[in-house]
Symmetry: C2
Subunit: 219 residues, 2 copies
DNA sequence: AACGTACATATTGCATGCAGTGAATGCAAT
DNA sequence: ATTGCATTCACTGCATGCAATATGTACGTT
């Protein structure tokens, strides 16, 4: 989440715990999140649970219900809008990072890291290692966003990814698509590295558009 | 918070109250926000105050301090990054709304509303009514974002505007700039109405770029 | 007089208590 | 058997209490 580090408070740990449950599919959209039960399971009182759920409410991860909160569900159309928003964010990130690269603001080691991550992804795809693929895919996109050096973009991107992750296990199952994605990563990395701003943006947006297509087909 | 809910709970009212104080310049960046004092002033207990501040923390409006939270301050560079992010968001909003207009998804009455708001802004500028100008300016931009029909964009935009508002009374003082802005609004409205997607985006981005320039000069 | 230390104070973070309210359940009537 | 209604129950939302801790102050030392 946003900017909250340092404090290892209970609220934080509850947030992380619930977050983890979101990722491993413990919950489904619409499931209620009773604070007493969570408090009990996590060994804290209701207050930090309440705080954590409040933050999630502010972030849109959970939605207010008649009583308490429920896991925020996104219907198909909402997912498409979210993907579309993400498309713009990724395009902007690529644009920013490419322009920073063009201006010599990015250290060579970073380019190497990006290429390595892209390679890792390609390997994972070849080996049909879904877990590794998902991880390096996430990392690839995060790297670009981080390198854009715009914390506001990074924050918005994190939120978008979070909500996407809650509602769908980002699908790299389709091997054809996965290979295609790997290729696209390479091209994006090249465009960014060479400081080709407009191409970087175009390729990134196109990449997310394709991902949206895949999502749309399998959902 | 993003999508506000019907509940008129204490947490909500505290949030709004503090929010109002941000807008009318009661606080400066770095000011501490003691929860006991706020609770006393607002006639509630510390719990809802705590909740509200927690939400604001999640949104980045306040920052964690050694003790409690402080009003999040943005230095000049951060403001530039925020403006730049806003530029992208506004461009995206204009693009989306223009494309919806092109596809006949927008009711004629909305175009009229946009034009009216632009006109209101122009009048306020002519009369040097800063308050009215600020309000109709905000409304103009919000209208476009709302019409884009993407709640995720709307949320991000709201956050960005919020943080901009906290750190600077959006400056329409400069009469030259204000008049220029009024003209740009007109052109943007036209581009959107006629469904000219790329022009709408370009003009919107350019508009924010100019605003950034003004900010940069006077800060 | 300046600096460091120790104590007092202010303030947070978490736990718990209490009351209000929506939701589920059981009973009765058709 | 099903539907309507009343009662009960679970759960939330807000208030308050308590312990931990950072901050400010005063005092003693050099």
């Amino acid at each position: 989440m946003g900017t909250d580090q340092g404090t290892a408070g209970s609220t934080r740990s509850v947030y992380d715990a619930v977050w983890a449950r979101f990722l491993d599919g413990t919950y489904s959209s619409g499931d209620r999140l009773p604070e007493a039960a969570l408090a009990d399971e996590l060994g804290v009182s209701r207050t930090p649970v309440r705080e954590a759920l409040g933050r999630m409410l502010a972030e849109g991860l959970v939605a207010p219900a008649a009583r308490g909160v429920v896991v925020a569900g996104l219907d198909h159309d909402a997912m498409l809008r979210l993907f579309d928003f993400r498309r713009d964010l990724e395009g902007y990130a690529a644009e920013l990072t490419a322009s920073r690269a063009r201006d010599g603001l990015i250290a060579p080691v970073w380019f190497q890291g990006l290429k390595d991550t892209a390679a890792e992804f390609a390997v994972a795809v070849d080996q049909s290692d879904a877990t590794a693929a998902t991880r390096s895919n996430m990392q690839f996109h995060e790297l670009i966003v981080e390198a854009s050096d715009n914390e506001f973009l990074a924050d918005a991107h994190r939120r978008a990814i979070a909500r996407l992750a809650v509602s769908t296990a980002l699908n790299l199952e389709d091997p054809t698509w996965a290979h295609q994605a790997a290729e696209q990563h390479d091209r994006i990395a090249t465009a960014i590295t060479t400081g080709d701003v407009s191409t970087a943006r175009a390729l990134s947006e196109s990449h997310i558009r394709d991902a949206t297509q895949i999502f749309s087909k399998t959902n």
